[in-house]
């Protein structure tokens, strides 16, 4: 059964609960929590409020791009730390920025196919912990060192040490650079801005709105998807730290381009923030819902992964959403709310342009007619990654989780979550709230 078939005719996949940590700004040094710490903090609060025991899960699936050196198959590390016990299998998935959503899709597939009934799936990332590595010259030198038998040989090795040996490899910078086309993610956003003639002002205005919306959601107490986390030094974190309430257009305009100096337009202010955070969803089959009397938040209707030109990776959402819309026979207006991950303001704006462009839809998607424009009031209603941050392995899970909360709050029915994926991919997931499967409260 293909993925599409499984979603269409396999067993229904329900989302029964979800939880995430607040997203913590990376401040140039490793933050207080490792990727596993974050996933454990969010996961234990989620599991605590379930009517079943952690060892009744069928599996744990976690997306994460840069687990720490002591976090190999981080999903298993987290699963054991959560008390799921030795018998619950756990695996880690990587699809770059799509990893969190990939974890949910994988869980959903297993449920649809009847392999699992109850799955904990999500994403985690501690970008502030991204490794700083020794460069190759240094590694080679150290390799020779371990074979150098005599003091004389070792002294000669030491004499060969030069300042370049000590130049570190910053893992994060390499991770955010496309290894095939050599563009940094920010440069791909510059490409899109150029292609769709998106001005610096539009980007900055979009970023400002993202912060305004997040601040509004925080003040309105709308982010109930967050559980506070506690550091061992007596501090606690209960909200997304990226929000900048004091920012304005003038302030944003003053920022220097971050990637294409000196003439670029993509700045730190209109890009997603480097952040640490984890998010989980709890997925269940109908029989698990029945057995444990679980409340149902929504159902996963469809999911699509696509490949695009790596240098244009930001348009991934358009390519991923379009097949779902066509398969499901939906018009833009029938989607009540959308989350498109804000890797870059320019990138989301480019997606909106492409979505409604007759030329783009015809040439790139092979459609007769473009889609109706996406109403900005239905997109990222509580702000996006520009304000909240984008822990790469986590965001895919966060936007699905948040979309469920938005649908519930506005009594909406259908929602689409989508993101662009570094390396030239896109992912999209269609969810809907369900009537009549309500057990519990």
């Amino acid at each position: 059964m293909s993925r599409t078939e499984a979603y269409k005719s396999g067993r229904p996949v329900y989302i029964v609960d979800g939880n995430r940590t607040p997203f913590l700004k990376a401040r140039g040094v490793p933050g207080p929590f490792s990727a596993a710490d974050l996933a454990v903090a969010a996961g234990r609060a989620l599991l605590l409020r379930q009517p079943f025991e952690a060892n009744e899960l069928d599996e744990v699936i976690l997306g994460c791009i840069i687990p720490g050196p002591d976090e190999a198959n981080i999903a298993r590390v987290v699963s054991l730390r959560l008390g799921c016990g030795k018998s619950v299998p756990a695996w880690t998935v990587q699809r770059n920025c799509g990893s969190g959503m990939q974890a949910i899709d994988a869980a959903a597939m297993d449920i649809a196919h009847g392999r699992s009934d109850l799955v904990l799936a999500g994403g985690t990332e501690a970008m502030s912990h991204a490794p700083v590595l020794l460069n190759n010259a240094m590694v080679n030198l150290l390799g020779e060192w371990s074979h150098a038998g005599t003091t004389w040989k070792r002294l000669r090795l030491i004499s060969r040490l030069r300042p370049p040996h000590f130049r570190p490899v910053i893992g994060l910078i390499h991770g955010l650079t496309d290894p095939i086309v050599g563009l940094s993610m920010g440069q791909t956003a510059e490409e899109l801005a150029h292609r769709f003639r998106i001005s610096r002002e539009r980007m900055d205005a979009f970023a400002l709105e993202s912060h305004r919306r997040l601040a509004g959601a925080q003040d309105g107490g709308k982010l109930t998807e967050i559980s506070p986390i506690y550091d061992t030094d007596g501090t606690f974190f209960d909200h997304d730290e990226g929000v900048r309430r004091d920012t304005d257009m003038a302030g944003l305009a003053r920022l220097k381009p971050a990637f294409d100096r000196p003439f670029g337009m993509v700045t730190a202010g209109n890009s997603a923030q480097i952040t640490d955070g984890a998010a989980w969803l709890l997925l269940a089959s109908a029989s698990a819902v029945e057995r444990h009397k679980l409340p149902v938040l929504g159902r996963i209707v469809d999911c699509q992964w696509v490949g695009v030109e790596p240098g244009q990776m930001g348009l991934g959402p358009v390519h991923a959403m379009a097949p779902i819309m066509n398969r499901q026979g939906l018009a833009t207006g029938e989607i009540d709310f959308l989350e498109i991950n804000e890797a870059f303001a320019a990138q989301v704006l480019a997606c909106l342009e492409a979505w409604q462009s007759p030329e783009y839809c015809r040439d790139e998607l092979g459609l007769d007619a473009p889609f109706a424009p996406i109403d900005p009031e239905r997109l990222n209603v509580d702000g996006g990654a520009v304000a909240i941050g984008h822990p790469v392995g986590t965001s895919g899970a966060r936007i699905v989780l948040h979309l469920l909360h938005v649908l519930q709050r506005h009594d909406g029915r259908r929602g689409m979550a989508s993101l662009c994926i570094g390396g030239g991919q896109g992912g999209a997931m269609l969810i809907e709230r369900v009537e009549g499967v309500h057990h519990g409260t």
Binding site: L48, R49, G83, P228, T232, G234, T235, F236
Partner: protein, 686 residues
Amino acid sequence: MAPDAKSCRHWRLEQDSDGIAWLTFDRAGRSANSMSRETLEELADLLVEVSRRQSAGLVIRSGKESGFIAGADVNEFTGLTGTDQALTLIERGQTILGQIEALTIPTLALIHGFCLGGGLELALACRYRIATDAPATRLGFPEVKLGIHPGFGGTVHLTRLVGPLAALDMILTGRSIDARRARAIGLADYTVPERHLENAARAMIRHSPSPATPGFVRSLPGMWFMRLLFAAYLRRKIAKRADENHYPAPFAVIDLWERFGGDPTGMLAEEARSVARLITGSSARNLIRVFLLQERLKSIGRQGSSVPRHVHVVGGGTMGGDIAAWCAMQGLRVTVQDIDHQRLAGVVARGARLFRHNLRDPRRVEAALDRLIPDLRGDGLPRADVVIEAIVEDVAAKQELFRQIEPRLKPDAFIATNTSSIPIEELAGTLARPDRLVGLHFFNPVPKMELVEVVRGTASAPETVARATAFAGAIGRLPLPVSSSPGFLVNRILMPYLLEAVIMEAEGIPAAAIDRAAVEFGMPMGPLLLADTVGLDICLAVAGILAARFGTEVPQRLAALVSVGHLGKKSGRGFYTYAGDKPVVSEKNEKGPARNELEERLVLRLLNEALACLREKVVTDGDLLDAGVVFGTGFAPFRGGPLHHIRNEGIGRLHERLKRLEERYGERFAPDAGWQELLLEEKESP
């Protein structure tokens, strides 16, 4: 069994194909090995057999899962009547362990779990020691805690093996060390995972390296002139923590080493004489009594069935937070509920400190932290097997809380209130099922205070009480079953003593003089400093509750201090003024009444209240009372508990003194009716 295997009641001797003799200690009828007269005599016979056989080597190990040997059988100490008898016994032990030393074949102790006291002395008599590297491995000489010191050659062998500094540190503090430390100081030749124990033992016997020595630097403090210096230094250091009259054992160790540190034979002989003197003295007798009382409380905690898996603590203050962290460290999953994020963050921070200090290993620390879950919304309630209430000491607030939480509990969960003074019945009334409520009164600081009062309300189901008792035992605390009378046992007995101190202070006696009298009696801390530490507002509240019930008077001075905001340490001022955490005490020797009179007033009120509690059956017998007061208040352990102290000092004599104080100070010294029974007992005994 192989033909050359020999077995007796407590030991098993087998010879393997390499010709190595494996001697396994498996004391009959016990879950842990301890050394008794009988087991030692059997060992003596077996050692003769071993030397006759000319084995390739001897490995001594334990057949118990719990560990190697937990020490000498303390119960046998109590039967000793005189110094000579004790000396004979100790010398016999030395001789038997000397047989191991005299063997010409390589000897090795294979150690897992506890290796304490006499057990460690046996291991030290061997040429080599190999221990498992598990956290459960503990080696030590806890003898000083019983008022004695090692007597089977331990002081001689340990000093010689690891050097005087490391050895004296272990002997004087009584603290046990883990495998890693044992390896570092040279006490263990190797520490290996359990899977390698036997191979390591075989290899070591086969290669038979020369025995470990401490090396020149570590032996240096053993030179005679260095000994004099170090002995003086150690005496000063110990004297800061313990009075030689109360605790002679550590001083005896220092004397022994100072005089005989360079003469192993002399030291061995004197070691035996020293222990014989100590063990028949009152300090050791009473400390051994306290140890046996502790064992009794432990055994009370072992009776019982299911151990809870999830504990929910309501209230993230100092008590609630520390109870939660303690439970998490013991391996339970714990949720702590509070409405204040900052308080929950404090709970995690204090927990992290506790775990790092006690568990050390970062993985175990992380696991404990993962089990300690801050729970703003009370999601842990429906999962909890035990709910511990540790919120503000206010009847209405507690009742309201119980009303809220009861509907969310599992049907078989029980509720424990940590109230220190409110009768359980008053709180149980609001519950639909009052039978599930019990008191679990922890003492501050939770990680240090072992005692937990298990308070049985009139409505508490016996099953609930039993489960609460077992729970306290399971988390490594000492449960003391008490009835639900105000103040329960410990605070009730402590309060008159505290209040008498307040009255004396109000009379103009310097606080420091009052506290000094108590400390010299043997209390861990003076009453006024204790009151300041607890908080005068809390003392006043508890005193008020007790006064309301027993018609006693609360001195004006206490209320006066509280009304002007002098609450003790936390407000920077109470009976003392504090600079940081320490009270400022002027060194001037202010004139006060004779120390004896101060001590008498403080202690007799305490003793009088103790007899009242016994008469009212707050606890079921006098030993439990003594245990509770020693472990709950730190009451001079070398005196063996308040009732024991009364008997030692003379019942009639103390009763007379109390009556004299009554004449002079009034009704608060009126002897309780409970004295009559004791007086009768004294008359009847010869």
